[in-house]
């Protein structure tokens, strides 16, 4: 028998949602448990649970209080969260093409300077990483990736930008991310991808799932422009490495 896992904290998010908190910090082991509980609830649905939202450190469980009350669901979630982590059926591995630096990644030079190395070294390190989608949130398709090497950990910008481009690949704190829609960001912009993690009228509308593995590959600006046209027309562009 595996050692018993510590119980998560059961926190009320109003009368119709429970936050199942495994950690207060960004913590890989906690995120694995979040995703494991999410898989358990997908495999063996609990009556009354309407939707689950994984984040780095907690699983938000929406439910209908007409069908199940807080105490009953809380107890059930604590028990489920301490079950041995179920094996993942099949982890998808994506490779996402990125054009780094220049107009596509306006912070690459500054990041290199701050970390006392060259832009090429930053790109080489970012491309060498094996990442996992820890959560998707904030705006549609914004995918937060765990697994950034320590050398690239950097505090967020003091002054967040109000508008950053669609497809931005950036780093912030201990994370890296794939941003789908143009929008505000306080992270450091390394490059852009043509991949749309969210695109209406495409099947699938959302490309990445929490738990998917991701690597990056460097492409030149011309390739990016071609891929961007293909992606606009509905192509996925990202490569599924273990299809």
């Amino acid at each position: 028998m595996a050692a018993t896992l510590s119980p998560p904290r059961i926190l009320p998010s109003g009368d119709s949602a429970i936050t199942v908190e495994f950690s207060r910090n960004i913590d890989d082991a906690a995120n694995q448990r979040v995703l494991a509980l999410d898989r358990i609830l997908a495999r063996d649905p609990v009556s009354g649970v309407t939707e689950t939202v994984p984040t780095y450190r907690s699983l938000l469980v929406h439910y209908d209080p007409v069908q199940i009350d807080f105490d009953a669901l809380g107890a059930k979630l604590v028990a489920l969260a301490q079950l041995p982590v179920p094996p993942t059926t099949k982890t998808r591995r994506w490779r996402i093409p990125v054009v780094y630096g220049g107009e596509h990644g306006i912070d690459l030079e500054d990041v290199a300077k701050t970390l006392k190395t060259t832009p090429d070294d930053i790109v080489a390190r970012h491309v060498a990483g094996n990442y996992r989608v820890a959560m998707i949130g904030f705006t549609p398709g914004w995918s937060y990736l765990g697994g950034l090497e320590k050398f690239l950990h950097m505090p967020r910008r003091k002054n967040p930008r109000l508008l950053t481009p669609a497809g931005t690949i950036s780093i912030g704190g201990v994370q890296t991310g794939v941003q789908c829609l143009a929008g505000p960001s306080g992270w450091h912009l390394l490059g852009r991808t043509a991949v749309r993690t969210y695109q209406l009228h495409r099947d699938p509308i959302f490309l990445l799932e929490p738990g998917d593995h991701v690597t990056f590959s460097a492409v030149d600006a011309k390739t990016f422009a071609e891929q961007d046209r293909a992606a606009e027309a509905g192509e996925i562009v990202a490569e599924l490495m273990n299809a």
Binding site: G14, Y56, G137, F138, Y144, Y198
Partner: protein, 350 residues
């Protein structure tokens, strides 16, 4: 097919419905009407599904014109002056616009949002089962943005059914009830007391993403950054400046500010209707109380169609009599056993 043409409309007006559920795990927020009870009331007056798409009308005035045939609509939510080509019409009733007629609505009085449901629903392309507008994500149909003058909504056309009214229970008064948490432990006793004991106002810079509150500064114990976690409608997050923001249906699905409390489900619509600048308070309730109220609210929504009544002449008389504060005597006017409208003399005795 008939159509309803938007002749004039203010900001913060869009097509909304019960919301787009099931994709928050991909960062897609549910959107949907901020006052679900008013949406459902308008819909059941014209025989639609309770959470079908309707026009959510912001605090300013609006005008709608029927074209290519008659259009039957119903109005609910914030009270406002309403007329059809000069003929006064009431909120919480259905009404039919003949081809070419215009329904003109004034500013919201004592609320913020009204709902105009269209008999037969609004023709559009469902995305994740919803027509609700989420402008940031490019979602919503027939227009993925707030409504503008000259927009046209296609509809099945008026059935010719007789008009209806709906009796809604009085909106509860008193503080907006909240359940503390999930991060109330990020605030000390003094900050929690200040939050619960103070009068708050909704800032004019509020929108469907969040209502910003004006009042005292709520200080955090350990700073304002937490690791992002999930949000719900009614989450009350406190950013670095100490001014709480109540998250509304177009919120981000996750957020990195501590959430001191959450507005309970049954009070979400009532909260959404508080006009900017009007003072209100919060009151903490137990989980048991909030869930009991949520169940009652769900029951109210389920039984709404039973509250819809035909509009008859004697009903109108009763309304007039109630206004004159002689409702006690008027009750017998609709008693099927007597089936007679008492004379004015009889009523005057009460």
């Amino acid at each position: 097919m008939s159509k309803l043409v938007i002749s004039a409309i203010g900001p913060a007006s869009s097509v909304q419905d019960g919301g787009r559920h099931g994709a928050q795990r991909y960062g897609l927020t549910p959107s949907g009407a901020v006052d679900q009870l008013a949406l459902a009331a308008a819909n059941c007056l014209v025989g639609n599904e309770l959470f079908a798409a309707a026009i959510e009308i912001g605090p300013f005035g609006a005008a709608f014109t029927a074209r290519e045939g008659a259009v039957r609509v119903a109005l609910a939510g914030a009270p406002r002056n309403a007329d059809i080509s000069g003929r006064t019409v009431a909120s919480d009733t259905s009404m039919t616009l003949a081809d070419g007629e215009t329904l003109t609505l004034g500013f919201a009085r004592g609320g913020s949002f009204s709902y105009l449901a269209i008999e037969g629903g609004i023709a559009g392309e469902l995305m994740f089962g919803s027509l609700a507008v989420n402008a940031r994500a490019g979602l919503g149909s027939p227009y993925p943005r707030p409504l503008q003058a000259a927009d046209e909504l296609q509809t099945a056309g008026a059935s010719g059914a007789s008009e209806r009214r709906i009796d809604l229970p009085a909106v509860p008064e008193g503080p907006i009830r909240v359940v503390m948490g999930p991060q109330d432990d990020e605030f000390g006793e003094a900050a929690t007391k200040l939050f619960l004991d103070s009068e708050w106002k909704i800032s004019a810079t509020s929108d469907r993403m969040g209502y910003r509150l004006e009042g005292p500064v709520i200080k955090h114990l350990h700073g304002h950054n937490i690791v992002s976690d999930g949000t719900v409608n009614g989450s009350i997050q406190v950013p670095g400046n100490g001014a709480p923001i109540v998250l509304m249906p177009d919120r981000g699905t996750s957020g990195g500010y501590p959430k001191i409390a959450t507005v309970m489900t049954a009070d979400l619509g009532r909260f959404a209707q508080i006009p900017a600048g009007r003072g209100f308070r919060f009151r903490a309730v137990s989980m048991a109380e909030a869930q009991a109220e949520a169940r009652k609210f769900a029951q109210l929504l389920r039984t709404l169609p039973g509250r819809v009544k035909a509009i008859e002449n004697f009903d109108l008389n009763i309304e007039a009599l109630q206004d004159a504060n002689v409702a006690g005597a008027a009750v017998s006017a609709v008693d099927a056993a007597t089936w007679q409208i008492p004379s004015a003399d009889a009523l005057a005795q009460d």
